[in-house]
């Protein structure tokens, strides 16, 4: 019997980068969508591992919330209680994500992946749905953006307020630029909503998210290490 995409995703998540069972490997050969998903997760995992060099972890609640959000979106599934999933002893690649720079890289990649998926597969249907239904059906890009807003903006606030420095010039500069990037994101979002098939607007939105992630990583890095490393 041919494997379904849902089954494959479940197996992919459980394997965490390990070799796939024969049936799943066969499905991967046949299914473009799952192949793209697998490639994206691989890229995220590689980026996370590259960026794992000793940085401070943000508060645990952020990761709990982020995981819940990802589960709610169906991007990952909760195969065990969150408290167990966050046990330090567990050496899964999820634990590697619990670092600010990794979070930025992960979310940037997630947004890219979601954006690409949303653009290639769902954008036309979503446009139609938004016309016929007053209830807002959001695209994967915008849903992922919600994750970004709810979680990473919180990280951002924590990061800036937690800066261990009295150098107001630097903290003000970072705050000012965070505000600037937030504005850019808002403008780009508006453009993408108005013109969903405008690839350039999407590219700028993606670029603004990347900047936000990099800026937060820089803020946390400098704040947590006293500005020097």
């Amino acid at each position: 019997m041919n494997m379904k995409c849902e089954q494959f995703e479940r197996i992919l998540e459980q394997q965490e980068g390990g070799p796939l069972p024969k049936q799943a490997a066969a499905h991967l050969e046949e299914c473009n969508t799952c192949r793209a998903l697998s490639a994206d997760l691989g890229a995220i995992r590689d980026a996370a591992l590259e960026l794992s060099a000793g940085e401070e972890a943000p508060p645990e609640r952020i990761w709990v919330s982020l995981r819940n959000q990802l589960e709610a979106e169906g991007l990952i599934r909760n195969t065990q209680p969150v408290s167990r999933a966050l046990e330090p002893a567990r050496s899964s690649w999820w634990s590697v994500w619990q670092r600010p720079a990794v979070a930025g890289a992960f979310l940037a990649l997630l947004l890219a992946a979601s954006g690409a998926i949303g653009f290639l597969s769902n954008a036309p249907q979503i446009s139609v749905q938004s016309q016929i239904s007053p209830r807002q059906e959001v695209s994967p890009t915008l849903t992922a953006d919600n994750v970004f807003k709810e979680e990473i903006l919180t990280v951002g606030n924590d990061a800036v307020s937690g800066l261990q420095r009295q150098d107001t010039t630097v903290t003000q500069s970072i705050r000012r630029n965070l505000q600037l990037v937030d504005n850019l994101i808002a403008i780009c979002e508006k453009s993408v909503r108005e013109q969903p098939d405008n690839q350039m607007a999407r590219d700028y939105l993606y670029g603004a998210y990347q900047q936000k992630a990099e800026l937060l990583a820089a803020a946390m890095n400098r704040g947590m290490t006293g500005g020097l490393q």
Binding site: V170, S173, L215, G226, L228
Partner: protein, 299 residues
Amino acid sequence: MSALPYLRAAGAGHTRNAIRLGTLGAAMAGLILAAVPAHADRAEKHFQVQPKPKVTVRNSNGRIQIKTWAKTEVQVNWVNASGNSVVDTEQAGNRIEVVTQPVGDQISASDKTDFEITVPAESELSVRTDSGSVTVDALRGDMTFDTVDANLQLTDVNGYMVVKTIDGSLVCNRCAGKLEASSISGNMQLMSPTLDSLRVQTSSGNILFDGSFSSRGIYIMKNFSGTIEVHFSANDSFDLNATSLKGDVINQASFKPDTHGSAHPASKWGHSLFGTMNDGHAKVELSSFSGTIKILTRD
């Protein structure tokens, strides 16, 4: 003539004035001494190196000035006026590290260390600083810069340069080689560059390119708002792709239709210009979200 006969000759009134002036002078001297921190740190160090050393500088605030000379030696001078930081230096073979460390747990805005560093002309340089300024003159080698709001000025440098800043500006005078620069709100100015490869990006800053495009170069300039202004020689040979999604593209040069690669259908979003100058050897991409793009010949 001794002071005593003078005081006698001047009389009692003058004596009182002299005492007052003396007291005032002593008080002012005391104030000046109090203004100079007790622990101000000023030092000079020398390191013998091989040609092409790697020099790393980490600072939080202050002026960093990098110069070159013909000697195979690195000279580091610094002044820390507040005395709230210490400067650690380390040599490991051909690698020199200069790192400012705060004395306490926190960094304050008044804590500032100025460096003047002289290195062999062919050196690899890495600078990370938050505030202040960085100037580099006549260096030939790979360079990386990472700043928050420190401004960067590169003059007569040649190499692979990577600049990452949040709020700082970049001024590049007669830069050669390859440059990648990104900023959020800083301006980028490239004056008389002879770069083979350029990739600059700023969000709210302006970009000014005033120079020539080398025939095998790739030049990418991108911002969100602000102006991108390109001045080039009429003899330059390049393909141009300029697009502003919400802003204008102002062209004052004569391009012919792009004869290379695929056709460029008119974009249904924003303003675009595609064209070829002379034989179209180099590739120039200008992109803005809401800023204005200006394209002009220098002649």
